[in-house]
């Protein structure tokens, strides 16, 4: 079978981070990811990804600015013709650092915000960070980059989506991603405190729809629906091993950024060329296409549309990665999701529940 190359490399350079967001998708066992790839190893990964056909390089983490060699990696990616995208908390995005990255050829910066105002933002981030984020967002614009803001939505901030949009407008953001939490890693641990109610979602969607209309052509608004409330699952990563290639700090290559714990042999860039990993490794081959599917996916008219949903979510919720993503209303395991949704909508459930902060020591 002829296998197309990846479109994008998601380079998770480090899982170290100055923030402690409880919705983080990084794995819970962060301490297992301390032996990070060296500069030369990352440069080889970036070059091999470009040779395989990748067009974009997302530099993410953790906080990628904690890598002192970030500008060197950007330069390598730019030399390979990759579109470079920094996904950052913006802590450490000093004037000197920004200038260094600009010179290296960085194309785009995405700054995360946790809310529209310091008290809530800092509480969710677990760190006094809001003021520095706003300053960094302004710096992005001053250096001529397009500005994307990323806001992960959940039970404790979704009621402020109008204020978040107003803050984005004031910062003259080009784009804002309002992404409802996906329950991987730390977010899965914190699901009960993060999953919004149906009423919260309905109210937010009215606000977002009106803002899209009002800001059309000025600011792009990307709203990622919460799949727990969807009828059908998301076509995760555009298909397993079809478009995206994730490399974690210690060099394991994954088809999805939540695939750390799948019971498949790891494929590490320290041991194998990226082309073999992408085309032939067990982890990338396991759920490529539709042959792996069980019913109801196997006989479903939508099997090429949503591709069975997310393998990692199926594994996390059922223990079997080949089952239908339980968020699908047709899934045999849908009751797991229904139970979580019912709890989130219980009259007795407060809006604010304690969050387990992301940390290296659990």
């Amino acid at each position: 079978m002829e296998i197309d190359g990846p479109l994008g490399l998601l380079a998770e350079l480090t899982y170290r981070c100055p923030l402690a967001c409880a919705y983080c998708s990084n794995p819970v066992e962060l301490a297992a990811y301390r032996e990070e790839l060296t500069t030369a190893e990352w440069q080889r990964v970036i070059t091999e990804a470009a040779e395989l056909g990748a067009l974009q390089c997302h530099l993410s983490g953790g906080e990628p600015l904690l890598r002192r060699d970030l500008a060197d990696l950007v330069r390598t990616a730019a030399e390979q013709g990759l579109y470079t995208n920094l996904v950052t908390s913006a802590l450490g995005f000093t004037a000197a650092r920004a200038a260094e990255l600009h010179d290296a050829g960085l194309d785009h910066v995405q700054v995360s915000l946790q809310a529209d105002e310091p008290q809530l933002s800092d509480r969710i981030a677990g760190s006094p960070s809001f003021a520095r984020k706003i300053e960094a967002a302004r710096r992005v614009r001053e250096l001529g980059w397009p500005l994307t803001l990323n806001v992960v939505l959940h039970r404790q901030n979704i009621d402020r989506v109008a204020e978040v949009l107003a803050a984005a407008e004031e910062l003259e953001a080009d784009r804002i991603e309002l992404a409802n939490t996906q329950y991987y890693g730390w977010a899965a641990v914190n699901r009960a405190a993060l999953l919004p109610s149906r009423d919260q979602l309905a109210a937010a969607e009215v606000v977002v729809r009106a803002a899209k209309e009002r800001l059309r052509g000025r600011m792009e608004i990307i709203y990622v629906i919460p799949d727990y409330y969807a009828t059908y699952p998301k076509p995760c990563m555009g298909g397993w091993g079809a478009r995206q290639l994730v490399v974690v700090p210690t060099g394991d290559a994954l088809p999805c950024l939540a695939a750390h714990d799948l019971p498949l042999p790891a494929a590490n860039v320290r041991e194998h060329p990226l082309s073999w990993i992408w085309r032939d490794s067990p982890i990338f081959s396991a759920y490529r296409g539709t042959d792996w599917m069980q019913d109801p996916c196997r006989s479903c008219a939508r099997r090429e549309v949503d591709l069975g949903g997310c393998r990692c979510q199926a594994f996390a919720l059922t223990g079997d990665a080949t089952r239908t993503d339980p968020v699908c209303h047709l899934a045999p395991d849908h009751d797991v999701v229904e139970a979580a949704v019912a709890e989130a909508n219980a009259a007795s459930r407060p809006v604010e529940l304690p969050l387990v902060a992301r940390s290296f020591r659990r």
Partner: protein, 106 residues
Amino acid sequence: MTRDAQRSGAGPLTQSFPTTGVPRLGRGVKLRYDRARERHVLLLPETVVVLNTTGTAILELCDGQRTVADIVDALRETYADVPEGQVVAYLAKLAERRHLEITDGD
């Protein structure tokens, strides 16, 4: 978990502009040739737009100097049939998605 697959569409086209407008690629948008797929593509933060021959021909002329009318004229040097309305509609669609910026000509 790729997010672009979950996004809703840009909605119906309502915007239009005069042919004296001057289009150029939007901030942070890059046009490049993709060797692996032998196609031109527009690269954006989280999107790759694969272009067909016509789209490529139009976008290569969006240099921040030429007006829309100039672009139509230039296309007519290569292609027999270039309906201005279709070129304008294509540019308007890309502008609405912020892949292009169109500034006033004068």
